[in-house]
Symmetry: C2
Subunit: 355 residues, 2 copies
DNA sequence: CTGTTAGCGCGTTCAC
DNA sequence: GTGAACGCGCTAACAG
């Protein structure tokens, strides 16, 4: 042990920090007998470094369990490998599917999502966007709620690639991946009209905060209007979509729209498949014939709808794929490659036994 | 426009970076006419700052749309407000429920999860833990796959609070929140024995990579052994749990275990509710009486199981609550408060119509 | 209450 | 192929 002068001791470590003595690049460099920057180069690509020194550095790093500090690396100019992800909900499997696809694609490139969930609250979304951007991510993926002007300002001024997902109809700030929610609603209208239904109702959750559910409803109405049909009734219940909410909604609906013998057959369109499952429960409890007395149509193609004894008629969205494509688009943008501003993955009408 | 000397130009900004000219704390301070540290204090708590200067700084910050750089803040000594979260899956709603609860609790404290999904791959989990720790998070939440020794070394040596979730039986590295998977399996055994079942089978997904499903199976066998009963048959199919996999598993199972007239009634226990739903489908297609010929028992209490015409007998886990408690435990640890090493939230036997 | 000094750990300049 | 100097943006210590 050679004694250290006070100056050296001060420069190498702070005696007040007994806990946080994680090895730094400087120590790796010292052990390997090279400069910090050479160690840095060796531990990353290994380019512009002699094979011998590369191995010395790697050995030294392993010997002291060196773990790079990406905060410092990113601050010093390296590209961030974090991607901000803001979703409106996780209680609906729609967004966990998207997140699943997104995370898979990001991880392949060594990127990681920082997650925020807005619960469809515009102010919370705004705060999340602000918070997550302050981590200086490489980009941001957003399934927007009803965004505030301030949110859009933050996004536009962030200087990083933005990928909006789920609905390709609104003009994108930067890039968007999804489907046309409005066209999906219209497709359901066309299908139901083609099946001969003329008496339609709508049962939804609180769609005032869910712009995509609202677009689907509008698309449905558009499609009906083309045949000069209007919704016989609409019930909107507060709260997020769920099985019990759908059951309650149908219960209310049937008070205004009697069904059964002596009435035209009624088809209820739901804002989401879980709502439709609830509707099915109500029909079972009330002894209604599905689809004879009451027909049901959902949206999203969730597993729960297909698990029913009568598989649900619905429109399937390609959620995992949307996540994967959003990740790919973001990574391409980060790499400076050109990306289509709008990627429409489409949707698929699933004709079940409930219509 | 006053001409700048070369020295000034070099000190204030780099002409090679036209894009990234986000305002810094230094600019806020300059506009407000204070030092950087005063501006820093004002923009955080506002403590030890005169009310007048506080307002000047805040006004200046808003005027130039200042957004703090948390990378720099954290590197300089501030506590990180990121929490690493490593989950084995997102395709099963079990973990999106947990993530939902966790994110909610973290966000309340201004913390954000950085997410990694291992797909039950030990090596991928190891890489994720390493990657996420290199962001120097305030802590780490982990629903472990079959962890490698290297993973445990990384965790133990990380110096940050670790919360393991889902199963309270393994000895925690630091802290754990969940339920006893083994006790849950045993509880199901006791219930089924109490109902008079003596002929039991097991249908599972690839539980070799899913330690919790394996523990439940062991608990089930433990409970049966107490009554000197053993499983009549076991089918394990590769891949993650899903509805189709459950259907296939029951199909195979019934080749060895005939049911119906002339046979003792059989109850099949599944590794997860979605598998059990698949089993129900097989029963429906084969025209079997449930639970007369074939009884079914799931695990986890997922919505899909309760959405069946016959609600599924299962054991409900409190997933959202586990996430919330894990977040609370982590935040408490970060704040230096004492935390129970093991938090058992228990489980609930749900007696449906399938047994 | 405010400012000065001194870094956090790393990567991007340039040189050699 | 390697290194020196510098700065990323911010905050913890002290000083006053």
């Amino acid at each position: 042990m050679t004694p250290l002068s006070i100056t050296q001791a001060q420069m190498t470590r702070d005696p007040d920090q007994p806990d946080d003595n994680r090895p730094t690049l400087a120590e790796v460099a010292r052990i390997a007998g090279v400069s910090e920057i050479t160690a840095s180069r060796a531990l990353r690509g290994g380019t512009h470094v002699a094979r011998a020194t590369l191995e010395r550095v790697q050995t030294a790093a392993r010997a002291i369990n060196y773990m790079p500090n990406r905060l410092a690396g990113t601050l010093a100019g390296g590209a961030s490998r974090q991607v901000a992800v803001v979703l409106p909900s996780l209680s609906n499997s729609v967004f966990s599917d998207v997140l699943h696809g997104l995370e898979t694609r990001l991880e392949q490139a060594g990127h990681h999502p920082i997650l925020g969930v807005s619960n469809y609250d515009p102010l919370r979304e705004e705060r999340l966007v602000s918070d997550l951007l302050s981590w200086r991510p490489a980009g941001l993926v957003l399934a927007p709620a009803v965004s505030t002007a301030e949110t859009r300002r933050l996004l536009a001024g962030s200087g990083v690639p933005i990928v909006e997902i789920m609905d390709v109809d609104p003009a994108p700030i930067d890039t968007t991946v999804g489907l046309s929610q409005r066209a999906a609603g219209r497709a359901m209208a066309h299908y139901l009209l083609g099946r001969g239904y003329r008496r339609l109702a709508y049962a939804g959750h609180d769609i005032s905060t869910d712009p995509r559910a609202l677009s689907r409803l509008q698309g449905l109405q558009d499609g009906l209007a083309e045949a000069e049909v209007t919704l016989a009734a609409t019930v909107l219940l507060p709260g997020p979509s769920s099985v019990p909410l759908g059951r309650d909604a149908v219960g209310q609906l049937l008070q205004d729209c009697p069904v059964g013998a002596g009435h035209d057959r009624l088809v209820v369109c739901f804002s989401n498949d879980d709502m439709a499952v609830g509707g099915m429960f109500h029909a079972l409890s009330a002894g209604l014939d599905v689809p004879g007395d009451l027909a049901l149509a959902g949206f999203n193609g969730l597993a729960i709808g297909q698990a029913l004894p009568l598989p649900l008629t619905t429109i399937a969205s390609r959620r995992v794929e949307i996540g994967e494509l959003a990740g790919a688009a973001l990574l391409a943008r980060v790499a400076g490659k050109p990306v289509e501003k709008v990627q429409d993955v489409g949707f698929r009408l699933v004709i079940g036994a409930t219509t």
